[in-house]
């Protein structure tokens, strides 16, 4: 009806005029609401973007949309790591094939992929073994010249090991053992040890094998989280998974794929790793060697690590490398510099030479040194506690390295290495709490060492590698290791390649948890309910969690962010509500005469109610529209620029180095709904007061 239209127009007009005539009050209220709406749009859009990017990454790398695991476990599943570094005790699935066949009957379930996470330590051959092998050959050939040059390398290694002892003494409680070790290393440094080497080669080599090699080997332990699974099914259903080097574990074959990050971070030559890290920080985090003091400190530390390069160079390599080094160093190199000084100077990188030296390192130096402790194709002994509490070592073939697309850079994503389920079952142990604690202590010391190294630059290197510390603390626990190590490399490979298994063997047996891959990946909650029904029905004794819960701490992060955002928005709107309410209550008393007059000349209470509500509503809609527009604008701009991930965890959450957020209609609608409700709520009380104003007040009062 045109009447209602006209009265509405009149009411809006009055509302508008009142808003305009009270500019200060209106603009305060409006700015709070603009800000609130903007925050709401930006916040929910960012949250949605993060959630969907994270969902893509998490579900298509490790978790799937849903995960099931035993309902009997003590702890909760945390595939990307939980609150503590320790592995949670999530219970066991005794026979995976049973739950597989059962769950695959549930509608929307595409596949069920078995999993089991365990920890183990690995060991690899090392530089001294190689040097000693050459030394043995040279000695048997009576090749004095080669022996002489190799002796230089051994002394280098021993020298670098000796340097660590000052630090080791500070943290070790077995000083007696340290003294013996130091004496052995000092023995090798003496010229006397080498003088008549070829005559006494057996005895000397035995000394080197038994007294020196183990010390050098100390630094060769590494720590691995192994996720056992059905490798073929894993590859098929986790499409972020890709093999980087080497090949996929072939069907029916045992073995491990090392995550590229583990390979690059823990198994790479330390100098190469440092170079990589500096490069990464320059490229990903926009830091510069020109002015970033932390980065400069790291570069300085790098040049002190020259020994790690030099002791791996044999004489022919030195001869090859020296002229090239002099070439790249130019006037920095002096004529009397030996290879040591040259490498040391070469590693002294700065802003102007970093790129050239990085390239040179990989082109010229890297081929001559052992770039990784573990290489694709190696068979390495892994060890862990068995189910009965013994230490058990298993030889496993490293088939290759892998990464998850989009989160290649993330350490979080690189936290697991993948193996077949049978290898997992061998390594998996039901550990006692004490054993577990011991293993965690090892692991923690790795982590702690790694971190403290970053901050205390003058500490340890030349010094101990982080892994050396592990060995030091754990020597007693891992006695069995030696037996495995003794086996010749060829035998190990043969042994491993003979160990095949059938799909049935893989499926009929232990798993710890299983990923449930859905046909419609968005229909998570409904499928979850269906699976729960099925679990009840078939008495599977399982619980089912969604990807967010299964991911662990990282998954909870998004919930935390959500809560923080909503609390912030709630507070902002609460403030807006209180302010609007107060100012409107004040306005009603100021406008008693006006309201009374309108009532006297025939305005019903409803008219007054609408009049007051509309005033805030107009303000709210205006502010809401502006705020939403600003919010959408901000997201659109961010969607073009991208939000850089400040650190590694954020990089994981963003599924890459930058998040390109997008805003959806629902973000705007939610904001509009909230602003609408807040406007109404904040004005309801004052508007009700206004309707109580009696028409008789119009007859009073003078102005």
């Amino acid at each position: 009806m045109s009447q209602t239209q006209s009265s509405l127009r009149m009411i809006s007009l009055i509302a508008m005029r009142n808003i305009m005539s009270n500019k200060v009050k209106s603009s305060i209220v409006a700015s709070i609401m603009v800000f609130g709406t903007m925050l709401l749009v930006v916040g929910t859009a960012l949250l949605d973007s993060v959630e969907s990017s994270m969902q893509k990454v998490v579900t298509s790398s490790l978790t799937g949309q849903l995960q099931v695991y035993s309902s009997q476990g003590k702890d909760e599943l945390a595939l990307f790591g939980g609150l503590t570094a320790s592995l949670p005790e999530i219970g066991e699935i005794e026979d995976f094939s049973r739950i597989k066949s059962s769950l695959e009957e549930v509608p929307n379930v595409q596949a069920v992929v078995p999993m089991g996470l365990t920890v183990s330590t690995g060991s690899s051959g090392n530089d001294i073994d190689e040097v000693l092998r050459q030394l043995r050959d040279a000695a048997s050939n009576n090749d004095a010249q080669t022996v002489a040059s190799l002796s230089g390398q051994v002394r280098e290694i021993a020298g670098s090991l000796l340097e660590e002892y000052a630090d080791k003494e500070k943290i070790s409680n077995d000083l007696n053992r340290l003294d013996k070790e130091r004496a052995a290393l000092e023995e090798v440094q003496k010229d006397a040890f080498w003088q008549d080497f070829t005559q006494n080669s057996q005895e000397r080599l035995l000394f080197l094998d038994t007294k020196i090699a183990p010390l050098a080997n100390n630094g060769r332990r590494f720590f691995m989280r192994i996720l056992g699974t059905d490798p073929q099914a894993f590859k098929q259903h986790f499409d972020r998974f890709e093999v980087v080097k080497g090949e996929m574990i072939p069907p029916g074959q045992r073995g491990v794929l090392i995550s590229k990050r583990t390979h690059e971070r823990f198994l790479k030559h330390r100098v190469a790793r440092e170079l990589d890290r500096i490069k990464r920080e320059i490229e990903l985090e926009g830091r510069s060697l020109e002015d970033d003091e932390l980065l400069q400190a790291r570069a300085r530390r790098l040049s002190r690590q020259y020994r790690r390069v030099t002791f791996q160079l044999d004489p022919s390599e030195v001869a090859q490398l020296e002229p090239k080094l002099r070439d790249i160093l130019g006037s920095e190199a002096s004529a009397k510099d030996s290879i040591k000084e040259l490498i040391q100077k070469f590693l002294h990188v700065d802003h102007s030479n970093f790129d050239a030296r990085y390239d040179f390192f990989y082109a010229q130096v890297a081929p001559m040194i052992e770039l990784y402790r573990v290489n694709v194709g190696d068979v390495v002994p892994l060890q862990s506690f068995t189910r009965r509490g013994y230490v058990k070592a298993v030889n496993v073939k490293i088939w290759g390295t892998f990464q998850f697309k989009g989160i290649e850079d993330s350490d979080l994503a690189g936290v697991v290495n993948i193996s077949d389920l049978l290898t997992f079952r061998e390594l998996y142990g039901k550990m006692t709490r004490a054993q577990r604690a011991e293993l965690e202590a090892l692991r923690d010391s790795i982590g702690v060492e790694d971190i403290s190294r970053d901050s205390a630059e003058d500490d340890l290197f030349g010094g101990s590698d982080e892994i050396a510390i592990v060995e030091q603390d754990s020597q007693e626990s891992f006695d069995e290791f030696q037996d495995v190590e003794v086996m010749a490399r060829e035998d190990r490979i043969k042994q491993v390649e003979n160990l095949t298994y059938s799909q049935q063997e893989l499926e009929q047996g232990l798993a710890l948890n299983a990923a449930v891959i859905l046909e419609d990946p968005d229909d998570i909650q409904r499928t979850r309910a269906l699976i729960n029904q099925k679990i009840q029905q078939d008495d599977l004794k399982l619980k089912v969690v969604d990807w967010k819960e299964a991911a662990g701490l990282v998954g909870q992060l998004i919930v935390v962010i959500q809560i923080v955002l909503y609390v912030a928005i709630f507070i902002i709107f609460l403030v807006a509500l209180v302010i609007i309410n107060n100012s409107m209550v004040m306005a009603t008393t100021e406008r008693m005469a006006e309201v009374g007059t309108m009532r006297a000349i025939g305005a019903q209470r409803g008219f007054i109610l609408v009049l007051f509500m509309l005033e805030t509503l107009v303000l709210g809609l205006g502010a809401g529209f502006t705020g939403a527009l600003l919010g959408v604008g901000i997201i659109e701009i961010l969607g073009v620029w991208g939000i850089p991930a400040a650190n590694e965890i954020v990089r994981f959450i963003f599924a890459g180095p930058r998040l390109y957020p997008h805003v959806s209609l629902s973000n705007v609608l939610i904001a509009a709904g909230v602003i609408f409700v807040v406007s109404l709520l904040s004005t309801l009380y004052p508007a009700l007061i206004a309707t109580r104003i009696q028409p008789v007040v119009a007859m009073r009062g003078r102005d």
Binding site: S6, S21, T597, I601, G602, R605, M699, R702
Partner: protein, 251 residues
């Protein structure tokens, strides 16, 4: 008292008593008022301060209800009406002119006058515009159509109020001391305007005043003292003179 047929009576008050609470006590503002006013009258209610003039107008205007007795407007008893019905009655039958003008400050002259028509919701936009402009012309403010109240003088504002009161063609227009906030010359022209509209539109006017000069314009003067009618005439010069002052007559 007049002998008019009840169908001609616009106001009929019978035995109206109005009490106001004053702490625990009660103040009797009106002590049994019987009053009939016919269509087309131009009546003033006079009396000293506190005598009950405003109270009588409030009850006639249906913005307040009596403690006892009955008020009939245009033949309809108001005693048992709800707030909603009273409001509707005011909207349809009564126009108000206030001492302090009481225009809506954020609306311009045209919009202020249009407001009651919009509340009635009976006329279309174009009819409304014609009616509003016509009545604004009658009060002589055609040039101020788009001005806001704060841009007008007191006299002009009261003209707008008169236009607003008359735009719905009410049966009855009530004005409580419409000239109290105006200087005497302006006040006089306002009363003259009201009188002229009374003559031409046949609209019933009831207004209160302290001012004897204003009183003199009325065709009927009802004099109140202490909540009682002490005098009621048809505008005889002498009586008006006699009631001038502080109200000794009739006490």
């Amino acid at each position: 008292m007049r002998d008019s047929g009840s169908e001609d009576l616009i106001v009929k008050m019978s035995q109206v008593i109005k009490e106001y609470p004053l702490g625990k006590l009660k103040v009797q503002a009106l002590r049994g008022i019987d009053l009939n006013i016919s269509r087309g009258e131009f009546t003033t209610i006079a009396g000293p301060s506190g005598s009950g003039k405003t109270t009588v107008l409030n009850l006639i205007g249906c913005v307040d209800v009596p403690s006892s007795g009955d008020v009939q407007i245009a033949g309809q008893s108001t005693t048992n009406l709800s707030d909603k019905e009273l409001t509707h009655l005011r909207l349809m039958k009564i126009g108000f002119i206030f001492q302090s003008f009481n225009l809506v400050p954020v609306l311009d002259v045209f919009q202020n006058v249009e407001l009651p028509l919009l509340l009635q919701g009976e006329l279309g936009a174009s009819e409304r515009a014609v009616r509003v402009k016509e009545i604004i012309a009658r009060v002589g403010l055609s040039d101020q159509l788009r001005q806001r109240p704060n841009e007008l003088s007191g006299g002009q504002r009261q003209r707008v109020a008169i236009a607003r009161a008359l735009v719905t063609n009410p049966a009855l227009v009530l004005a409580d001391e419409p000239t109290a906030n105006l200087d005497s010359v302006t006040g006089n022209t306002i009363i003259e305007l009201m009188k002229e509209l009374n003559a031409t539109q046949k609209t019933t006017f009831i207004f209160s005043t302290h001012d004897p000069k204003v009183m003199r314009q009325a065709s009927r003067v009802i004099r109140l003292v202490d909540g009682e009618i002490v005098l009621d005439n048809d505008g005889i010069e002498g009586v008006v003179e006699a009631t001038d002052g502080r109200g000794e007559v009739g006490s």
